[in-house]
Amino acid sequence: MIVAGRAEQRLHDRLTYIVLVALSLFCLFPFVWMLDTALKPIVEVQSLSPSLLIRHPTLASFRHVLLETEFGIYFRNSLIVAGTATLLAMIVSIFAAYVLSRWPRMTLTRAVGGALLLSQMIPGVLLLIPLYMLIRQMGLLSSYLGLVLVYCSFTIPLCSFMLKGFFDAIPRELEDAAELDGCSRTGIIRRILLPLSAPGLLAAAAFAFINAWNEFMFGYVLINDDAHRTLTPGIMLFRSAHVTDWGSLMAASVLAVVPVAGCFLYLQRYLIEGLAAGAVKG
């Protein structure tokens, strides 16, 4: 069926492409410029007529950032904290998501589901002070564990809802058959549910990791020594230390984006479904 005249159709197509190209450039240009700056020698970075063209590309900024600064430590700390928070959240969420998915009508399930939803609505900055005091009481300031625990408060709801969506897609009949054969509930989860939803598990983990990796405020407030500082507050400090050295700052930014970009490439096709399922705080 032809919805519109051919001329009108072509006009619409052209308009569509104009919007898409313009928005893509808008979205992408800062990254291009980031990479561009990171690869330039300092003379070209501080040029009064900046251009995309790099006359003498160099890795000097990357070398400086990686070898002569604390950046490597921050990067490692972020990997540890975001990785642990993701792992912990996944383990806890798998069971919660199972209950949410399989026994939705229990009072308990409704209460837990409601609490998880509510916890996603409560903004972190409003809990910043009591969480700071709590972590201080526990003696966990400037430690990985303190930050990991706090990150779990947002990675767990996120993982739980995402995993529930994936579990919902797996037919119950498979479980019934396994139960008939004498398999325990935990065995069912481990042997049937998890293998079948493996891509979904990975997507949820990738998403939790991105969120933990990107978090700034708690890392900034809860960690006060260089040995445990994570990347996002690290870059912030870096900035005051390298006021005019934009080449190094952009090299650090490029490196900070790499793990996220990796996760995103994998996550991309799930993102749409995950978002549609409403599992996201961002």
Partner: protein
């Protein structure tokens, strides 16, 4: 063994069809559910519920972050501290400007991109991926990169604007009070609108094609179809998106802190920045909690109103 399993299965079939309940099995499942959700419940209690109660509790008490001798019941003193603070009204105004402009800009860009991506043109998968990208990178990195592009000395944007003749000389966009807040808002829009794109795109794709075709046959133009078919279909998603983002934007700390720290001269100070300053720079936990509870109360009332309005609209 085998026999009892079969019996169990029959039981469950009976239970499912609603004919008969077996208390033993139900209780067993409930125990399992308690066991499975225990870690989540524990973490939520410690990390969300307890801090939440503590905010409400501390806002009527004198508490100092570094000086434990400051204590006692404060009544409404903390609220008085906040409301009489010379920074409060400007910060409230900034928060409103920041939130309204951000959400409006994000919605417009999100809707435009979703409408474009909903059309079945070649290459839209790539465009979709490109458009989501800003949303997944750290706010710190986004803020830093834009700060670099906006510097008055070597910034590419100032260079372009001067070359195009739009401005006569480079402007310190983040460094002067009249432009700082708007500039951070722009960067926030850049990073946040893809969320709208994805959500609205999902809603748009759920609109049945036949509706558009039928309307077109009846002679409805593009704009007419957008108003009569598309808009009603994405109204619910749009309202939810806007509601959530009003909250998320109003309480956002990261963007402003990373780009301007509330400056220059408090020109971009919002309420979350004030909370941070009370707590971490003046160590006045009571005032910080008072402000936080006010914000929380305000947000809860928005959610309530929206929720009941939505329920009232829905036919019973």
């Amino acid at each position: 063994m085998r026999h009892s399993a079969i019996l169990k299965r029959q039981d469950r079939i009976a239970t499912r069809s609603g004919a008969r309940h077996e208390p033993g099995r139900q209780a067993q499942l409930r125990r399992l559910a308690v066991l499975y959700t225990a870690p989540v419940v524990l973490l939520l209690l410690v990390l969300i519920a307890y801090p939440l109660l503590r905010v409400v509790w501390e806002c009527v008490r004198y508490v100092n972050l570094v000086n434990p001798t400051v204590r006692g019941f404060a009544g409404l003193d903390n609220f008085r501290t906040v409301l009489q603070d010379d920074d409060f009204l400007p910060a409230l105004r900034n928060t409103m400007i920041w939130t309204a402009l951000s959400v409006a800009g994000e919605y417009v860009l999100g809707l435009a991109s979703a409408l474009a991506l909903a059309r079945n043109v070649p290459g839209r998968g790539i465009f979709r991926a490109l458009i989501i990208v800003p949303w997944v990178i750290p706010i710190v990195v986004a803020g830093l990169t834009w700060s670099w592009m906006l510097t008055p000395e070597y910034g590419i944007l100032n260079h372009w604007l001067v070359q195009l003749g739009i401005i006569r000389q480079p402007i310190a966009w983040l460094g002067q009070p009249s432009t700082a807040l708007f500039t951070v808002t722009l960067v926030n829009i850049w990073r946040s609108f893809p969320f709208y794109t994805i959500s609205l795109l999902a809603a748009l794709q759920a609109v049945p094609r036949e509706l558009h075709e039928a309307a077109a046959v009846d002679g409805a133009g593009t704009l007419m179809r957008f108003r009569v078919i598309t808009m009603p279909h994405i109204r619910t998603v749009s309202l939810t998106l806007i509601l959530i983002h009003v909250i998320w934007t109003a309480i956002n700390f990261d963007f402003i802190w990373v780009m301007t720290q509330g400056g220059p001269l408090d020109a971009s100070e919002t309420l979350p920045i004030m909370i941070y300053r009370y707590a971490m720079q003046q160590f006045d936990v009571g005032a910080a909690c008072a402000l936080a509870s006010m914000m929380m109360g305000f947000m809860a009332s928005i959610v309530f109103v929206q929720y009941y309005a939505a329920r009232a609209r829905r036919p019973a």
